[in-house]
């Protein structure tokens, strides 16, 4: 199982710990050799140019002072640095290609939000062509509305903000709990509800479509947000349903019929008609993205995985769910990523001198410690082959415009909606969560599972004992790593890493590859 790199002698290695200074890291001077350092610097300039273009607009400056969560975006370059730590060659380029595009996509989303926002840009005509959507929602219902903008309002406020800075959600969690929501629910929808209670969301759109996305908390948080949207801002809200038992044949019609209603709702409020041509073009792109994802996974199942870790997961999130085939910008990026991955595989590129364990990362990852997967490679030689959030739809949807396929399209959109990231595993019965994990272990030749135990995720927690017993039966090393998703006050980053460190030292009896990063002073970092 152990794979060792030949002639592994790269500048800067085994000293990654020096990059952390105990405070808010402002500069990263990782020496990667001339070629890679120049490349990395060029990409840093690219990120800065995206930010500069964004901040050059007066409405966006205004938003910086109006919305508390906007300050988190100052840490954008640092987030990329965390993902590229210790990388060289193709893996470095893969992370930059994927994550830099995600940065561009989020910056565009923010720009669009503030353009229509009643408090900042206030472009009323633009706002009338915007539909608000949830953070964890498939935008499949927008695939046939090329002139209407799907605004995933919660993504930049909550989801991305917490990737950037670890304490971004704590204020909103406090607000939510002061309003009476208990502290034991999932902090993600709770923080979103808190943002709404705090009236700190941008206000725009002709209507909103909410989905019972990942969990009961998400479903219920929608009610609090929708009340404000409807009653204070006059933005009508549609609740699009996704059945729980999404693998069952006898729920598909139910989901498809509601999809039709959601589309009719958007037509009514945006004044735009559903465009089948645009839909099937989007469907082709959805299928293309699916094929690419499966190809990346195939490479990751070899001894030389290339596109791994949080960038793999975050890029898939953005492409699969937020984009859902609607943008023409993604396929070229997908193709470039595949080419890099193939090139890296052929050259047997490795991210660390040794891969000791092949690991599948399961469960819900902590937003505020999202770089841990990269850390696992460098510190312990544990390579994360894939994660739960990336094991999504593999079915091709209908992409030719025929009368039969127009009816099938509602079923396909509903299927995608049911199989949005996370919920396709956390709902639908234990087989999709537990049994299929072991199938993926076989498929990816994994000997280890790192199981994020998000302490408030009832769907995961409810299978705790089953995971443990079934892993033992199969001889798979199961490492529990507990966290609280987006509240570092409950589990600090080091407390999270320590669980992994303890397992590796006490159960696996191993020493770290790079001891300088076993403990990182990043409790006060961004």
């Amino acid at each position: 199982m152990v794979v060792k790199a030949e002639n592994y002698n790269r500048p800067g290695d085994k000293q990654l710990g020096v990059l952390f200074d105990g405070g808010k890291v402002r500069k990263r001077r990782e020496w990667r050799g001339l070629k890679d350092t120049l490349y990395d610097y060029g990409r840093w300039l690219h990120i800065m140019s995206i930010l500069a273009k964004f901040i050059a607009k007066p409405r966006n400056i205004k938003a910086m002072f109006r919305y508390r969560w906007m300050a988190n975006y100052l840490a954008t370059p640092h987030m990329i640095d965390k993902f590229t730590m210790g990388l060289r060659d193709e893996p470095l380029r893969i992370v930059h290609t994927s994550m830099d595009f995600v940065v561009y996509d989020v910056a565009s989303t923010l720009d669009n939000i503030f353009r229509g926002d009643r408090r900042t840009g206030n472009d009323v005509e633009y706002s009338k062509k915007c539909v608000l959507s949830d953070e964890n929602a498939m935008t499949a219902f927008m695939m046939g509305f090329p002139t209407v903008h799907a605004i995933l309002r919660e993504v930049p406020c909550m989801f991305v903000a917490n990737l950037l800075t670890q304490y971004s959600s704590t204020h909103y969690l406090d607000v939510a709990q002061q309003a009476g929501i208990p502290g034991d629910v999932c902090p993600m929808p709770e923080a979103e509800a808190g943002t709404s209670i705090d009236d700190d969301f941008a206000v725009l759109g002709c209507c909103a479509v909410q989905v019972n996305t990942t969990c009961d908390g998400s479903l219920m948080g929608n009610g609090i947000i929708a009340k404000r949207l409807e009653r204070e801002y006059g933005i009508p809200t549609f609740q699009l349903l996704a059945p729980m038992r999404h693998r069952e044949e006898d729920v598909q019609k139910y989901a498809a019929e509601d999809m039709k209603k959601a589309i009719a709702f958007v037509e009514e409020h945006s004044g735009e008609k559903w465009d089948w041509t645009a839909y099937f073009e989007s469907a082709k792109r959805v299928n293309d993205a699916t094929r690419k994802r499966m190809a990346w996974l195939e490479i990751n199942s070899t001894p030389y995985p290339q596109f791994v870790g949080a960038p793999f997961s975050l890029y898939n999130d953005t492409n699969y769910m937020g984009n859902c085939g609607r943008s023409k910008l993604f396929p070229p990026v997908d193709a470039k990523l595949l080419a890099l991955a193939q090139q890296g595989y052929e050259a047997k590129r490795m991210m660390a001198p040794e891969y000791r364990h092949r690991c599948i990362v399961w469960g819900v990852q902590p937003q505020y410690c999202i770089d841990m997967l990269n850390w696992m490679v460098h510190c312990w030689g544990v390579v994360p082959l894939t994660d739960m959030l990336s094991m999504i739809n593999t079915k091709m949807i209908a992409e030719e415009d025929t009368p039969e396929n127009r009816e099938q399209a509602y079923y396909d959109m509903a299927w995608l909606n049911e199989n949005m990231i996370m919920r396709n595993r956390t709902h639908g019965g234990y087989k999709v969560l537990v049994s299929e994990l072991w199938e993926f272990c076989d498929m990816m030749h994994a000997d280890m599972v790192m199981l994020w135990e998000h302490m408030s995720c009832k769907a995961l927690d409810g299978m705790h004992g089953q995971f443990e017993e079934q892993a033992r039966e199969r001889g798979i090393h199961l490492v529990w790593v507990c966290h609280d998703l987006c509240d570092p006050r409950v589990y600090t980053r080091q407390a999270i890493r320590n669980q992994f460190n303890d397992y590796m030292r006490t159960v696996m009896r191993e020493e770290p590859l790079d001891p300088s990063i076993e403990i990182l002073p990043d409790d006060n970092a961004w």
């Binding site: 309003a179 009476g180 929501i181 208990p182 034991d184 629910v185 999932c186 509800a193 909410q210 019972n212 969990c215 009961d216 908390g217 479903l219 219920m220 948080g221 929608n222 009610g223 609090i224 929708a226 009340k227 409807e230 809200t237 609740q239 349903l241 059945p243 729980m244 038992r245 069952e248 006898d250 729920v251 019609k253 139910y254 019929e257 509601d258 209603k261 956390t426 709902h427 019965g429 234990y430 135990e453 302490m455 408030s456 009832k458 769907a459 927690d461 409810g462 299978m463 705790h464 004992g465 089953q466």
Partner: protein
């Protein structure tokens, strides 16, 4: 008030999941269908030779084993059920029907299945999971019909040869309605200044109708209703009349605790309560009974998982209507700790009932068994009751 003649009998029925009436029905050769969520259409589990029993875990103590399997973050109701199942406490059941009403109940039943906790020695035993509607509309009714056919009627028929015809459903609805009518008629005595039944007593009677075969409790309910007609009410003023709203309530002691502070629980809007759980199902002859039963359950459902906005607002309006009808001074929103749906519902509900409808509201979470937290809860309820009294003394608004 003088004790109700059958109160002790009903209380004893609640002491064990496998109570004497369940045992009696089983000894008569009947098929016991267990279920775990109020959204499961009850009459469909009471067809022909079958009778339904809502699973609960009375006198729950340690939940260590179920906590290992599901962690301490799942609600105590689900952990208590799993613990009891592991102990073998539900082996009287011949099948279980489990809607994905919430994530935790789903996980609870899945663990029961994976751990082979039920159906020992019964080859016909089945675990049946089903989808239930998330929205109150025609699409939801259609889903409910399909799911009930596939996941209730089919296993009952295929495993035990139960008659699932329209006539059989109508017969079951008739029996179901008789129980509902009796409970609702008994519940009417909660109205007015001098109620003839306490909230605690009413809860015991109502809960018994969920956990025992219906045909075996009807006679005693009829006697109780008759008794109430002449029962002399307490000659005292209650300090406050409250509607109790929230997640599933297995523990009559919680209501007793509220009433021990001098308050009166005049209406019950919680899972497995009578409002709307004991609304009779009105059938016509123009349409098949299954469709009408499903429509009734979808339309009357007050579960927070119902996500369409009409329902979100409607649930609060429903509580307001109850408070008016039953003359309530305040509302208590309760939630079993770690219950996600009710965590949010009680936040939004308590805010709206206070701000939009003007009621004093107490919002609390509670353990499955109140005995583990009596002192804290009593203090909170006492303070709430006093606050209502002070408002009354000052002549303020509700």
């Amino acid at each position: 008030m003088k004790d109700l003649k059958h109160l002790l009998y009903f209380e004893n029925l609640l002491q064990n999941a496998d109570n004497e009436l369940v045992q009696q029905a089983k000894s008569e050769g009947k098929i016991c269908v267990a279920y775990v969520c109020e959204n499961t259409p009850e009459p469909l589990m009471n067809l022909g030779n079958a009778f339904s029993v809502r699973l609960r875990a009375p006198r729950t103590d340690s939940m260590e084993i179920s906590t290992y399997y599901m962690t301490s973050f799942l609600c105590e109701y689900t952990r208590a059920l799993l613990e009891r199942a592991i102990e073998g406490g539900f082996n009287f059941a011949d099948g279980i029907i489990a809607p994905d009403g919430c994530t935790m109940i789903n996980r609870c039943v899945e663990n029961m299945e994976l751990l082979h906790t039920m159906g020992e020695g019964n080859k016909k035993f089945f675990f049946s999971n089903m989808e239930i509607p998330l929205k109150d509309d025609d699409n939801g009714v259609e889903l409910a019909i399909l799911q009930c056919k596939n996941h209730i009627l089919a296993p009952l028929h295929d495993s035990y040869g139960i008659d699932i015809s329209d006539a059989s459903i109508r017969k079951a609805v008739k029996e179901h309605n008789r129980v509902c009518e009796l409970i609702r008629a008994i519940g009417e005595y909660r109205k007015g200044d001098k109620p003839r039944i306490t909230g605690y007593e009413f809860h015991v009677l109502t809960l018994a109708t969920y956990v025992a075969p219906k045909y075996l409790v009807i006679d005693k309910l009829e006697e109780t209703l008759k008794e109430l007609k002449t029962r002399k009410p307490e000659n005292k003023e209650y300090r406050a009349r409250v509607v109790l709203v929230g997640s599933e309530m297995d523990d009559s002691d919680f209501i007793k605790l509220i009433e021990d502070t001098g308050a009166y629980v005049c209406a019950d809007r919680f899972c497995y309560g009578s409002l709307p759980g004991r609304d009779p199902i009105e059938l016509n002859d123009d349409e098949d009974a299954l469709t009408q039963v499903c429509r009734h359950y979808v339309h009357s459902c007050q579960c927070p998982r119902m996500m369409n906005m009409e329902k979100v607002y409607g649930r609060k309006q429903y509580v307001n209507d109850l408070a008016k009808e039953y003359g309530a001074d305040g509302i208590i929103y309760e939630q079993v700790k770690f219950c996600d749906p009710w965590a949010y519902e009680r936040t939004l509900g308590s805010t709206m009932l206070r701000d939009d409808f003007g009621y004093p509201v107490l919002s609390v979470d509670r353990p499955y068994s109140i005995n583990s937290s009596v002192g804290q809860m009593r203090t909170r309820v006492q303070a709430f009751v006093e606050s209502i009294e002070i408002k009354k003394l000052r002549g303020g608004a509700k």
